[in-house]
Each structure stands twice: as structure tokens, then as C-alpha cells.
């Protein structure tokens, strides 16, 4: 299950999706909106996305995780649009027979999401707003 949605993310639904009697370990990662970033007081985040391509990239990340580790299932949902403080912008759930695989694949997924999935975060802070990533001029991952 790889999804880009404007609705609040249902963690329990992702966990249910990866639950499997063959797999004794589920690792999840939840990214939530934080009230500060680089000295700025954050009021909210607002995500833009290229939804069809983002879902395709999420699916690709899931498939690569399946190749790299012995895992049973992966589910990833990324929220777009405005996301209030403490709400989840992204949830990843990975199940595996053994916890080491579940943890490593979950960690891999969030690192990859931040590198390649066409989703953009606009930070609305006290005194302005900024598209994260684009303002920094930081080099992109080589392709």
C-alpha cells in the first residue's frame, strides 16, 4: 500500500496492512510536524506533491526494500496539503520475521523518501513561508 493523500493518516490501517502471521516484528516511522526548524517558529506545514509519480516512487522504494532485506510487507502513506502541528506527514510500516530486517528497511524507506519522492514541504513560520529544499541550493542526489 503506497499512497499520497490529503486526509489524516490512519497509522492503525498501515499496521493492519503489514500484519502477517509469518512476521513477528513490525517497525514503523511517523514523521510529525514540529514547532521549530532552524531557529524558526513553525506554525504549520503545507505539502505539495506530484501524486501519481510520488506513489510510483513510494512503490519503487518498497520494492527495493523487499530486495535488500527479508521483509514481509511495506506500507507507506504520505500526506499532502496543510498538516497541523503534531500531525503525521508520513507513516511507514514494515513487517518482517526478524526485527533487524524490519528496522533497517523502515529506516531505509524514510531516507529514500527524503531523497527521491516528488513531494515538497512549505514551512509556514512566524513572519513568512518558505519551500524547504529549494531555497538552499543544496545539490540533488545524482541520477
Amino acid at each position: 500500500m503506497f499512497r499520497v493523500t490529503r486526509e489524516p493518516i490512519d497509522l492503525q490501517e498501515l499496521v493492519r496492512h503489514v500484519t502477517d502471521p509469518e512476521a513477528g516484528a513490525i517497525a514503523t516511522f511517523i514523521g510529525t510536524t514540529r514547532n521549530h526548524n532552524e531557529g524558526r517558529k513553525v506554525i504549520a506545514l503545507d505539502y505539495d506533491a506530484y501524486p501519481e509519480m510520488a506513489e510510483r516512487e513510494l512503490r519503487r522504494i518498497g520494492a527495493e526494500a523487499m530486495k535488500k532485506w527479508k521483509i514481509a510487507h511495506v506500507a507507506i502513506t504520505h500526506r499532502v496539503g496543510p498538516v497541523a502541528l503534531t500531525e503525521a506527514s508520513v507513516v511507514i510500516a514494515v513487517s518482517a520475521a526478524h526485527r533487524d530486517d524490519a528496522f533497517q528497511a523502515c529506516r531505509y524507506a524514510i531516507e529514500e523518501i527524503k531523497k527521491t519522492v516528488p513531494i515538497w514541504k512549505k514551512e509556514v513560520f512566524e513572519g513568512g513561508e518558505i519551500w524547504i529544499g529549494t531555497q538552499t541550493g543544496q545539490p540533488l542526489p545524482g541520477r
Binding site: D48, V90, K114, V117, W120, T134, T136
Partner: protein
């Protein structure tokens, strides 16, 4: 030929639209399309951030040759998560 161009995030704001149909010479590269767009949408010209290119929802290189009806996107540095 016509291609469909998608703008996101900062580019969406600067172009003033999320989508446009653009007429360009057959066989143009996606890099050449970007140069053409900067003339159609002057606010795109000062964009200095590095962009990635996608055609039909797959990343491609700047020298990728476009085809009629391709869905083209310019991808500023992503910041999901």
C-alpha cells in the same frame, strides 16, 4: 508537437499554474523545453535551484528527447517526509 507540463511547489507559484500545454518542435529535449518555458514564464527565469526532470512520471536526463503528448515535470529539490 504538444507536451503537457506540470509545475510543483515553488515552480507552481512562479508559473502561476500547475499545468500547461506547450507547443515545441518535434524531438526537442527536456532541457530545451525548460529554456523555452523561461521565455513563456519570465518568473521561472531566476530559478537557480537545480532541477530534476521527469517524463511520464519517471526521472530522465536533461538530454531526453520528448515525444508528442508526453507528461513533463520539472522537479525542484524534494523535501517530503
Amino acid at each position: 508537437m504538444k507536451v503537457k507540463v506540470k509545475f510543483f511547489a515553488m515552480l507552481r507559484e512562479r508559473a502561476g499554474t500547475g499545468e500547461a500545454v506547450i507547443d515545441i518542435e518535434a524531438g526537442a529535449t527536456i532541457g530545451a523545453l525548460w529554456e523555452a518555458l523561461k521565455k513563456n514564464y519570465p518568473k521561472l527565469a531566476p530559478v537557480e535551484t537545480r532541477l530534476l526532470y521527469a517524463v511520464n512520471q519517471n526521472y530522465v536526463k536533461a538530454d531526453h528527447a520528448l515525444k508528442e503528448n508526453d507528461e513533463v515535470a520539472f522537479i525542484p529539490p524534494v523535501s517530503g517526509g
